[in-house]
Symmetry: C2
Subunit: 260 residues, 2 copies
DNA sequence: CCCTTCTGCGTATGTCATACGCGTTATTGC
DNA sequence: GCAATAACGCGTATGACATACGCAGAAGGG
């Protein structure tokens, strides 16, 4: 009764088992005319072309030349498709050059964060996928592992490494989500990014009351919003702060424990 | 042509104008039997009781004792309702005691972050609302303003203050989103939080390969996951790192500028 | 050779957001 | 007062969409 994997305890949503390669192919009925890979690839294409909202079971089916319901032979629900799309679009991490060149944890973690960011920026629709619990897919674990590895020489406790990885990972997602919003506004109306931010600044000026919002007023007056913002600025800024904070922790930990 | 507010340039989604109080009430037809406030309050109640997914126009209408379509006299689309729900549930910020007692930026920012977190935890469904661009509601601006104010004595540049506020705010949201996921898993199956994390750890043990994932393996062996985790731990940890990072920036900036 | 099992898929159901238009009700200009 | 004018509440209709159900045909296994 606990033979297969159906009711063991910590269970995968069935189609995830396929992602891990532990799928005992039935070998009994007719051979499948489709494949998970084709379906997921088609779904990713649709999302990349027309956004996540355009990914419907019907649309994906049409894209692979099958009927809507046939997809359910491969995916038990749309949420599973989402997970698989995430896995496919994010892909496995590249080896960190900072680790190979023997650079420190800071360079390694920065490289890791940038790589993660690149993947998100390449598929902004990833950020629209409703989250579903902690990672349990091959690529998610691989990225997690790589994050831990970046902190290998840091002397941090195991739990802290994961906490840091989570912290940085969440930061990257947040920043990318901002970009996704901006990109969405840009394509929604047909204007340039600068026009969108300028329009937002105009809205702010209309709403902000210098008495009630002295700080924001000062910001507006400082002209800091009008500058043609380097799109990497917010990312770099946040990452530097984060790494500084991690550095402080490492220094503290190092003092009270044995060095590597 | 730019008289009202319809085609000025930086425009509000119409029902937001009501949130700002700048709504020229029609005064022509029959008096409305409903009000935005009642509708939004009902929607918030539904979300609090049965989750954001239960918030449908029909359900909300039923809750206020009206028909589905009558809601559209008050809200032009569901997205607007979402924005208003966010505004209502999040509410305005309390005054920061750290500011009144003259404590430093660190205490102020920590208090600010905690307050924001409390609001999110009180309404976890807030995190399920799909994001829609930068803040333009009264309470959003008020929180933003308060964040800037917390950094008043820091000597940071105006733009940097906002960057820090954004950074911390995103962190709080990310952490709360984690909690929301956990809570969702807890209510979905009917088990305890500890059971959920234990189940996840079991899943991990099944998937993690010590060769491929030495870091995660070490984490699992360290027992760091099994400890009955303080639910505040991840939040406190991340916030400390963040504040340390901000502190490093302030120290750097302070060196090149005048002190307060 | 038949029986089991899996396939693709047509059909049906139920949920939603929302466009449209009708009858009704206040308010305003005369 | 009175009609013209808006705004109101809301019934109906439309069009997506996810997905349950069941059937008919295909492939191996005994």
């Amino acid at each position: 009764m606990a033979e297969k994997s159906s009711s063991g305890g910590g269970d995968l949503p069935a189609s995830l088992e396929a992602a891990w390669g532990l799928r005992d192919r039935p070998a009994k009925g007719p051979k499948p005319g489709l494949s998970l890979e084709r379906i997921v690839a088609a779904a990713v294409d649709v999302a990349s072309a027309d956004g996540l909202a355009a990914v419907s079971m019907g649309r994906v089916a049409q894209e692979v030349g099958a009927s809507t319901m046939s997809l359910y032979r491969y995916v038990s629900a749309k949420d599973e498709l989402y997970v698989l799309m995430q896995e496919a679009a994010f892909g496995p991490p590249e080896p960190l050059s900072a680790l190979e060149s023997g650079a420190g944890w800071r360079e390694a973690l920065a490289e890791w964060a940038s790589a993660q960011r690149d993947r998100l920026h390449a598929h902004l629709w990833l950020l629209r996928i409703p989250v579903g619990g902690p990672p349990a897919t091959p690529n998610s674990l691989a990225w997690w592992e790589q994050g831990i590895q970046a902190l290998e020489g840091s002397g941090l406790a195991e739990g802290d490494k994961t906490s840091v990885v989570l912290l940085v990972s969440n930061f990257v997602r947040s920043e990318a989500a901002l970009m996704a919003d901006l990109a969405a506004a840009v394509t929604a109306r047909g204007v340039s990014p600068d026009e969108v931010t300028a329009s937002y600044e105009r809205t702010l000026r209309r709403l902000v009351d210098p008495d009630r919002h002295p700080g924001i007023s000062r910001l507006l007056e400082s002209g800091a919003m009008s500058e043609p913002d380097d799109p990497d600025y917010e990312f770099t800024f946040g990452l530097e702060r984060l790494l500084d904070g991690v550095g402080a922790l490492i220094r503290k930990t190092d003092g009270g424990a044995e060095p590597a």
